[in-house]
Symmetry: C2
Amino acid sequence: MLDERKKRVLQAIVEEYIQTAEPVSSNAIMNCEGLECSSATIRNEMAELEKMGYLEKPHTSAGRVPSAKGYRYYVDELLQEDKITLEEIKYISEKLENKVNQIEEITQIASSTISEITHYTTVAIGPSTNEQIIENIKFVLLNSRMMMAVILTDTGLVKETIIKFDEDITENQVQTLSYMFNNKLKGQPITKIDKPLEKYLVDEMSYSVNLIKPIIEQMKKVVEEESIHLEGATKLLELPEFNSLEVAKNFVNILDEKELMADMLNTGFAQDINVYIGEENEKEELKDFSIVTFKHRIGNKDLGTIGIIGPKRMDYAKVISVMKYISKKLNGNDNNKSE
Amino acid sequence: MLDERKKRVLQAIVEEYIQTAEPVSSNAIMNCEGLECSSATIRNEMAELEKMGYLEKPHTSAGRVPSAKGYRYYVDELLQEDKITLEEIKYISEKLENKVNQIEEITQIASSTISEITHYTTVAIGPSTNEQIIENIKFVLLNSRMMMAVILTDTGLVKETIIKFDEDITENQVQTLSYMFNNKLKGQPITKIDKPLEKYLVDEMSYSVNLIKPIIEQMKKVVEEESIHLEGATKLLELPEFNSLEVAKNFVNILDEKELMADMLNTGFAQDINVYIGEENEKEELKDFSIVTFKHRIGNKDLGTIGIIGPKRMDYAKVISVMKYISKKLNGNDNNKSE
DNA sequence: TTTAGCACTCATATATGTTGATTGCTAATT
DNA sequence: AATTAGCAATCAACATATATGAGTGCTAAA
């Protein structure tokens, strides 16, 4: 357990470092609130905090920098969560309330709003489709060789795809297909669109392979697609820690790897808001970054995940308060009178 | 007009510089084909070429670098276009023939193929929708307050969007709407989906505003959306000229600006393949890059534009031959026996 | 327990020297 | 008249030395 003054020192250092990105010296925080003592005293405290693992020194004659443990302590114990302004609350409300009709888009809008306010990069991923239940399937004949399939799920998600055939099809065929597919799939999880179904329809129901195969394949493909959405990809490049070309390149490459992003968003959801600081990230590539994520859900329905990715010295107070607010708004339990 | 040896020298310098990204010295090209003379002679030629504006010197004791004028001369007069290998031809054919069914996707596939082969960044933009003619409109009732609209155009383009209503709608309403819209819009340019139409339907045909307004607005929106597709965005970052953080950041920021990209692809199409070298680009931001574009069209139907963006010292020979080949393949006049 | 004082450390900045690639010119050669 | 060898001059790039100063850690006094 840290005594009161050590907490103060740690907090001051974390906050100063978040702001300046420069190692913090004993002088720099001497005049901070609640620290009315000399730099020498602070140096002593700093030395102890370092021994306990909360701080690090880049080199002997530099100031101190928070360690992962330091950030963690700060986030868990010291953070003050009221760093969201009234203007921001207003802005968020506007953005979200305007467009509540597009269920797929809402996560993206939330994600871009977060990026705008925090100036970090955000990643949004749609709901993991394979947990969803098919509510309805529509087939629409477009022309003699093209059909559109529309899949509706219980979460309100809509996936649509165009299917092309090598032979002509008729409105009648589409009708019976539509009936058949709905009959087999309504109320079933979306993963039931698979090879066995194709086999069943061809072998047992004696539909033509040329007809069924493209339908199943295309629907399967579109259903499995994960839609990842990046916002503010270049924002981090403005930060001083990205002044090394090495790091900047690295970051851009990370963002390019969609799978990594998806993984990142899909790990562990113990709390409503999850914070991973530097080395706490499972992926090696992310160990220089901090990540804050939350799931957008209504009831127990997963509607997507939003993550923010920033430097280890990200402004946790702001990020977390913004995330909490948006999460509350999205997930419906908003009893906040913002206007 | 340049004499034969000057041409040789210019060509050697351009090609060497494209390969190495280092200023080219008189020694370096002494043993090039058709240049059996001493470095001193080459130096004399180089000095003259510089005076004429084809070459530049970064500083006194460095080699020469081609100027924009130099590249231009090279592209117009000296370039040999057979820099596409058999493997590449095979690869392209495979990629393109595999997926000729998705009309929207084809431009993107072509674009990603080009990026893979050339190792530059490519940008693809869909056909400019507002020239297209509506062939058919389908409305599909999804549930009591959601409808999907599908628009088919003469180029085979399909746009679809979900429309939500504030009041319940019936299958019957959708039927008459569908009839009405098709009646008014079939054979019309896509730009006819506009405010006057809304006004007409509401005022003259006495449809409910609550019904018509969301339909028109949403369809208008989806039709106007420009779909820009980037491929290999990080590839250029590997090139030595992007070793300056300044340039790298600048590049990433450029790619982020969708409008700029769209503009870039939509300027001037005098030739089938257009080459803009450095300062020749209208946009200030692009003056350190070269851009090669071509339009994907069948007959006089515009199906999209593909552009490649690379350093001024891009491998024009390769890029142009790949682009020409793909353009030929896409645009149908392929009388090349590749297999 | 706190703090003033001071020697020590070390990244950063600046100046200075060295190297080597490359040019441009001149004079000799073809 | 055109080509080429030879050589001084140039200058970025690298390496090395020197100075600066911000910041610490320790000691001893308050």
